[in-house]
């Protein structure tokens, strides 16, 4: 079973040289730490930056330079700044190659819910709805089951949706899965030491698994 960093490490392997990538808050942010050597990637922050660099050294924080999570960050040589309309313009126009974001639930049809829990204070969708509706390539980083032990990979979402039929790949602490165009989760890889049956039990939606599902290779 993977920890958060393990999930981030596995997702980092999906990033190809030359990709422009948007990382959501939470586990996706960690992915930046595991981008393989020799792979040139440009991170977009949807408030209006291409070429997000690491956190600043202590004492060098610039209040005018933050990311979409409102964290102080830095730029890199080759960075560019733009307004929020252009930022979401390039997202809508699919200039961003890969979007990685978290989810509360994903359905076997690729629907995603990640912004609202009825009865709880709703903070807002931020850019999530724009990102899931527009991105050509989305990976969801999430826990397979919630704290109550219930599967978050469902036949259909129970929570208010963020987007419909948009998720194609999921990486959890247990597995890597594709969402099939005809519906259903296709098991691609198991976390080290996790059995297919264990994953099946943790997956409420339809699961397709062949007999020999390989273990993930992370390092």
């Amino acid at each position: 079973m993977l920890d958060k960093n393990g999930i981030a490490k596995r997702i980092a392997k999906e990033i190809k040289d030359g990709y422009y990538v948007n990382l959501g808050i939470g586990i996706p942010t960690l992915v930046a730490n595991y981008i393989p050597e020799g792979i040139n990637v440009v991170l977009q922050s949807e408030n209006g930056l291409l070429g997000m660099g690491p956190f600043p050294f202590e004492g060098e924080e610039d209040p005018d330079l933050i990311n979409a999570g409102k964290q102080t960050i830095t730029t890199l040589p080759g960075s560019s700044i733009f307004d929020s309309a252009m930022s979401f313009g390039m997202i809508r126009a699919q200039k961003i190659d890969l979007t990685i974001l978290g989810a509360m639930e994903v359905s076997e049809h690729g629907d995603i819910a990640n912004w609202k829990i009825p009865g709880k204070m709703v903070k807002g969708m931020g850019g999530a709805m724009d990102l899931v509706a527009s991105a050509k390539n989305i990976i969801v980083a999430m826990q397979h089951v919630n704290k109550a032990g219930e599967s978050k990979l469902l036949p259909s979402c129970t929570l208010p949706l963020t987007g419909v039929k948009c998720i194609k790949k999921i990486v959890t602490e247990l597995a890597v899965l594709d969402v099939l165009p005809e519906g259903g989760f296709k098991l691609l890889e198991r976390a080290p030491g996790v059995s297919v049956d264990f994953i099946r039990n943790a997956t409420a939606g339809k699961l397709f698994a062949s007999d020999d599902i390989p273990e993930m290779v992370i390092d």
Partner: protein, 233 residues
């Protein structure tokens, strides 16, 4: 050139009245019109509808106007980290319309570009789509979203000249240029106000035609919401 300079925030906002719709630039606490917000609190104008990506924190940004109950309605994409906001929302004192961040930005741009409506896929199939026209182009569904109609836009720039030309610094640009374009009356506060001719025409982010009033702000706090650093070792 046409001189847009006013003495300060009080004069700039003097004709903002109860019940009007304001756009406020900024993302989180970054690039917010601190001086204009302080002046609005001082003036005590009420029942405002505020279009702003966020709603500040309890004791800063639009949060200050929430403390004084000046806001009737917030139109935002994300309103976290604000206890007073939450209290007013749950008690029904405050009306909130949550819209996707890109839709928010693009509805501002539409107003500034004289386009009455735009199409975006954001929110298709979700509760955001309720009551809205959905239209299919090339096999993909889009929502039709309308241009905003705001009485005033309050924006914060780094440098500005007396003709109203604005330059923003780093990610404090965010929503400021698109809101500057969108206000019926746009008020810009700047850290440094310069004479015309001091700014390179090629570097101007917001042409002065969009700005009706400009003043040099004071005492910028520029509070950091999430201070994240790495160690030098």
């Amino acid at each position: 050139m046409i001189n847009k300079v006013v003495a300060g925030p009080d004069e700039a906002i003097k004709d903002i009245h109860d019940g009007q719709t304001l756009m406020l630039g900024g993302f989180g606490l970054c690039g917010i019109p601190e001086n204009c917000i302080a002046a609005l609190v001082k003036k005590g104008v009420k029942n405002l509808t505020c279009i702003s990506n966020n709603a500040g924190v309890d004791d800063f940004g639009i949060g200050l106007m929430l403390q004084t109950r000046q806001v009737k309605k917030m139109i935002s994409s994300y309103v976290g980290e604000n206890a007073e906001f939450e209290r007013q929302l749950l008690s029904g004192e405050l009306e909130v319309e949550l819209i996707p961040q890109g839709t928010l930005a693009t509805r501002c741009m539409a107003a500034g570009y004289g386009m009455p409506a735009i199409f975006t896929p954001a929110g298709v199939g979700t509760e955001v789509a309720e009551g809205k026209e959905t239209r299919n182009f090339n096999g993909k569904d889009y929502l039709m979203e309308y241009a905003f109609d705001a009485d005033f836009a309050l924006v914060k720039a780094w440098k500005g000249d007396t003709a109203g030309n604005l330059i923003f610094r780093s990610t404090s640009r965010n929503f400021n240029p698109v809101m500057a374009m969108a206000g019926k009356v746009t008020i810009a506060e700047v850290e440094e106000l310069v004479e015309v001719g001091m700014l390179d025409p090629d570097h101007i982010h917001t042409p002065g035609v969009y700005v009706h009033r400009i003043f040099q702000g004071k005492n910028y706090e520029k509070r950091i919401e999430q201070r994240t650093v790495r160690s030098k070792s």
